[in-house]
Amino acid sequence: MGSDVLKSIENAVVEMRFDDTEALTRQALDSGVTALAVLNGGLLTALERVGVLFRDGDYFLPDVLMSVKAYNNSYRLLDSELKKGNYKARGVVMLGTVQGDIHEIGKNILLALLQGNGFRVIDLGVDIPADTFLARAQEENPDIIGLSALLTTSMPAMKEVMDLFSARGVRERFKFVIGGAPVSQRYAEEIGADGYGEDAQAGVDLVKRLLA
């Protein structure tokens, strides 16, 4: 019974049936399946399959995002029980679009994919000044801080964030990753970031690598 319902949850996430994921998760929990079993045996296996479908070109961003939405519909129901136990998120990532830039699509895709890969994500939003990044980082203590920019004109704001953290002597407490259309690996090296992801999937891979 337990493995049947887990397989059904997995399929519902892969097939983007978000109402079903919620109902099936309730059914699993009511019948005594643990939250951790749902997470490991249903949700994470589903996202692995989604990852493969995406890599092979069968799934596109809207499919992945809808699968993550279905995942979240189930995960919400597990969260409180997971927190009671020993479960720990894979890591905490703080994301924001730097000051002077209000573009957020890329950042939001990364956010969804990170959530779907078991990370806790704190989203600061768009047009975020350097001192806000600093204040929130000190509050939340993320493992990784991700800076996003779409405009070439807002790229220097990434460097300002890095410089502020260095000036306050807290640069080494966090890993920094950057992404966005005008950004490159070379620019990441120039400003001293720890990594660059050319797209959302590469961003997830990068975060996993940095936390390994």
Partner: protein
């Protein structure tokens, strides 16, 4: 709405071309080089001059026989699950060519073609998404000339679910073609489903090719479809003016359609066109010319006037490499043929005026056909597609990527290329800096690696093999001696 089509002739102009065509058919006439056919035409009411072999078609007789040609017929596949309708309202993309050289998929070398290349091409067609019919495209050097047709048909039967066809080359070869499809499918099936559709090349100006005419007669006797295809060139084998070419070309196509109907009323036919302009520096053909698409569109309009399906050449190019010319010439001729309303669009996968091939180009043509289908499908407008609810839900500064509406509709609304590269430079470089042709080669290689032969009934395979063996034991002179009196 469906996208507006590309039209090059007004209703009046179609009428004018038709009128002049009847004058050419009844006045100048057509040279018919097979005696047996001339006898049938005499009986049908034509005026035949046995000295010159010129046949003149009285207008009333011509129009009566043209009306006998059916509006549509089934184009079945080698596999019964693959079945299409050929009619003035449908569209099918197909291969076809006379490639005697090919770019090797592995080494990139330009080399002579082999039977294995024929097989690969047929397998690739089987796996195309938008190209749904097969015509003989690659001509192998490593089997005797007089066995090519049976080797090709056997290769098709063993490897492809879609339909097949090739030129009808004389009495013996065309009879072989009919025998083989009868072995594979039975006479009833080929009369109903027509898995095999042959091309009849026409000798412009205003003549007939002996072996092709014999082929036409055998096909018609068997009730099998024939595509009447002149390759008239404006400036050499046709008047230099496009309207003049159309009059002559129309007379050529109609005379052949009439001949098929004289042999067997109701014989399935297509109004074909490989006509284009001549290259005026050298007198050679220019299939990649923009006028090819214009003539294709005109042919489709003329065919629609007669309510007969139309086949046109497309994707032809004079380029010798996989360059910009190769890409743009294939795109514009495919696009114009499809927008012009052609119903059977051939010559995917070729280069160099269809005399050379490249498997990667077949993959690319499949993608072009998909784009063209998308363009013609047009824009669907209804409450769901106007998306007012979603526009309201997302609001200013939002984005649509995470909306269910997006997920539900993107595959239908967008044509999603498999081969065109849309990555950013850094992503592209990381993946090996591969261009579209490289992606196409990779796809072709994967299809060929994954291919499994069709599972045919053992007795049928034995009979097919036996038939091929019997053809192998013939000599070329057997073919010449089988031909009918000219």
């Amino acid at each position: 709405m469906k996208s507006s089509s590309y039209q090059v002739l007004s209703a009046d102009e179609i009428g004018m071309i038709h009128g002049r065509t009847l004058e050419v058919l009844s006045g100048v006439g057509i040279k018919v080089v097979v005696k047996k056919m001339r006898d049938l035409l005499t009986d049908a009411g034509c005026h035949v001059d046995e000295n010159t072999k010129i046949v003149r078609f009285p207008p009333e007789m011509a129009e009566r026989y043209i009306r006998m040609a059916p509006r549509e017929f089934t184009l079945g596949g080698a596999d019964p699950s693959v079945q299409r309708t050929v009619s003035p309202d449908t569209r099918i993309f197909s291969g076809l060519g006379t490639a005697i050289n090919l770019f090797d998929l592995e080494s990139g070398a330009y080399r002579q073609t082999t039977l294995n290349d024929v097989r690969d091409h047929i397998i690739l067609i089987d796996n195309c998404q938008h190209i749904n019919s097969n015509q003989m495209d690659i001509w192998p050097h490593d089997v005797p000339m007089h066995t090519i047709h049976v080797e090709a048909i056997r290769t098709w039967l063993m490897n492809c679910r879609k339909s097949f066809g090739m030129g009808a080359y004389g009495v013996l070869a065309t009879t072989d073609m009919m025998e083989m499809v009868k072995i594979a499918f039975g006479i009833e099936t080929i009369r109903e489903r027509h898995p095999y559709v042959a091309i009849i090349s026409i000798q412009s100006p205003l003549s007939t090719a002996h072996i092709q005419l014999e082929g036409l007669m055998i096909l018609a006797e068997n009730g099998q479809p024939a595509i009447m295809s002149p390759e008239a060139m404006a400036g050499t084998t046709a008047p230099v003016t496009l309207a003049g070419l159309l009059v002559q070309h129309n007379a050529e196509v109609l005379s052949h359609i009439i001949m098929a109907q004289v042999v067997r009323p109701g014989a399935p036919v297509m109004y074909g066109s490989v006509s284009t302009v001549a290259e005026m520096r050298r007198g050679t053909v220019a299939l990649g010319a923009i006028e090819t698409g214009m003539i294709s569109a005109a042919s489709a309009q003329m065919a629609a006037h007669y309510d007969i399906p139309c086949r046109t050449v497309a994707g032809g190019t004079e380029s010798k490499t996989l360059d910009v010319q190769c890409g743009l010439e294939r795109m514009h001729s495919i696009m114009l043929a499809a927008m012009g309303g052609a119903n059977y669009i051939t010559c995917a996968g070729t280069i160099e005026s269809t005399t050379a091939g490249a498997h990667e180009l077949l993959m690319i043509d499949d993608e072009i056909a998909g784009m063209v289908e998308r363009a013609i499908r047009g824009i669907e407008v209804n409450d769901t597609t106007m998306a007012a609810t979603v526009i309201g839900a997302v609001g200013p500064d939002g984005n649509y990527l995470m909306e269910e509406h997006t997920q539900r509709h993107f595959r239908g609304e967008h044509f999603i290329p498999r081969l065109a590269d849309r990555d950013k430079r850094d992503v592209w470089e990381k993946a090996g800096s591969r261009d579209m042709a490289a992606h196409a080669r990779e796809r072709a290689k994967k299809i060929l690696a994954d291919h499994r032969e069709r599972q045919l009934d053992e007795a049928t395979v034995r009979e097919i093999d036996r038939f091929v063996e019997s053809v192998r034991s013939r000599s070329v002179s057997d073919y010449y001696s089988a031909e009918w009196e000219s």
